[in-house]
């Protein structure tokens, strides 16, 4: 049933229905409301879970690593510098193939200090071996948690996952969300069956050291699991549709792309604004569409090529920047890679960093720029730096 609630609270409720046995998190804006709500649920005995209070994000994810290795379904959430502090543990969790699910309320990284949204935090962990899915609205942010657990815990996959949604823009927004009931979630998401676990009676060590003779092979195994995750995400999305009537089976989703000459490619909540902008541009006869990327890791390169096959111009919106690459964001660089040799003109636009508001007219301006061949730039900079 649809009810109106804050994004963070909808996510917290979804997490509750996933029945995590251990939660460890350290509060940081704008993730705070999620973990506050979960702590309250545990304190009120609405959620039977061990809530481990820690002194830092490093410890939060370390506790999750240990609990997951011991065979529990675990959950954490963070943002920005908090995720940066988890950097080392992120690689360990993925390398040990522990299916931890973590919400990322996306926020920019300092310095300069900024509490506002962009996606630099999760994007900076793109090579860590975690899956990364991005939500357009709070319904999707909620639903992706169920899917993330299902895929992460699949014994063919065994990879951790970030469920990313834009900080404040989604986390602090009240809007209608259909949060499923416990029984429905139970029917979709079976209880956690660890592939292997730490057990004093039958001891193993995880993440043992690998010599130069073997290290590469372990990394290759993670790559292969990521590759398999593409199908697993589709399957889990399809099964979700069967259970709940909302279809997340596609790693990319086209909007009015069928006859489009120009396509905008984007990740996360900005897609909503882009859709409204496209409707307006279509109203004045312009053939513009959107390709929304839901899964950034694994990266759906083939699906992107297929979806954009018929367009002549692509404008990629990046709420992150790979400093030193000129004006390239992670998404732009990878879309260019996916479309290499296709003859499609791809331009990247760094936009919305540090909470800079992106409006419909900005999308129209970017479309104009792309169609006139101008791009690979920061969009909307203040005059004084130009």
């Amino acid at each position: 049933m649809l009810k109106i609630t804050e994004g963070s609270h909808a996510v917290a409720e979804a997490v509750k229905f996933c029945r995590p046995e251990v939660i460890a998190a350290y509060p940081i804006t704008p993730q705070t409301h999620i973990v506050e709500a979960l702590a309250e649920m545990v304190a009120n005995c609405e959620l039977d879970s061990e809530y481990i209070c820690v002194e830092s994000e490093f410890s939060a994810l370390s506790a999750c690593l240990g609990a997951s290795a011991a065979g529990s379904r675990v959950y954490s959430a963070t943002s920005s510098q908090g995720l940066a502090l988890m950097f080392e543990v992120c690689f360990n969790v993925a390398g040990m193939r522990l299916p931890v699910v973590m919400s990322i309320a996306n926020r920019s990284l300092g310095a300069p200090l900024s509490i506002w949204n962009d996606q630099q935090d999760s994007i900076s962990l793109r090579d860590s071996g975690w899956m990364q899915v991005y939500a357009e609205d709070n319904q999707e942010a909620t639903d992706l948690h169920f899917i993330a657990y299902k895929v992460a815990e699949d014994h063919d996959i065994l990879l951790p996952a970030f469920v990313c949604f834009d900080g404040f823009i989604l986390s602090h927004t009240y809007e209608p969300v259909d949060v499923p009931a416990q029984e429905e979630v139970d029917a979709y998401l079976p209880s956690f069956k660890p592939y292997q676990r730490l057990d004093a009676a039958d001891p193993i060590s995880m993440g043992m050291y690998a010599t130069p003779d073997y290290y590469m092979e372990f990394r290759y195994e993670i790559s292969r699991a990521m590759e398999r995750a593409k199908e697993a995400l589709k399957r889990a999305g399809r099964e979700f549709d069967e259970e709940f009537g909302r279809d997340y089976s596609a790693p990319v989703e086209g909007y009015r792309l069928e006859d489009a000459d120009t396509a905008i490619v984007a990740l996360g909540s900005i897609c909503g604004t882009v859709k409204d902008a496209i409707d307006e541009m279509r109203g004045s006869g312009r053939k513009v569409g959107l390709l929304k990327i839901r899964s950034f890791r694994p990266f759906p390169d083939k699906e992107i090529l297929k979806a954009l096959d018929d367009v002549s111009t692509v404008a990629v919106l990046d709420k992150n920047v790979s400093l030193g690459s000129g004006a390239g964001g992670a998404l732009g660089l990878e879309v260019k890679d996916a479309l290499y040799g296709s003859g499609i003109e791809v331009k990247d636009y760094i936009t919305g960093l540090g909470g800079r508001d992106v409006r419909k007219r900005d999308i129209a301006n970017i479309t104009d720029l792309a169609e006139s061949g101008k791009g690979d730039m920061y969009y909307g900079l203040r005059e004084e730096v130009l």
């Binding site: 390398g95 193939r97 292997q196 193993i204």
Partner: protein, 87 residues
Amino acid sequence: MVLNIGCAARPGKAGDNKTGSWRVFKPVFNQELCKKCGLCALLCPEGCVTVNDEEEYIPDYDYCKGCGLCAEECPADGAIDMVQEEK
């Protein structure tokens, strides 16, 4: 080596790893000069020096790797001599 998921492994036994073959010098204990302080047993990184019922400190040459720590730290002059191993 098998590529176990997550590079997981069953625990091995240090006992399987006979480090005695690493030696170039070996400690030779002279029980006459020993003061029974027990430092050698305490400090040996292989934990291979043990004390018997006669209160004699004796290294286990299967594991003694010849590092010489015991001889270096022994307070009794001449109680432990490092002598070249004959191979």
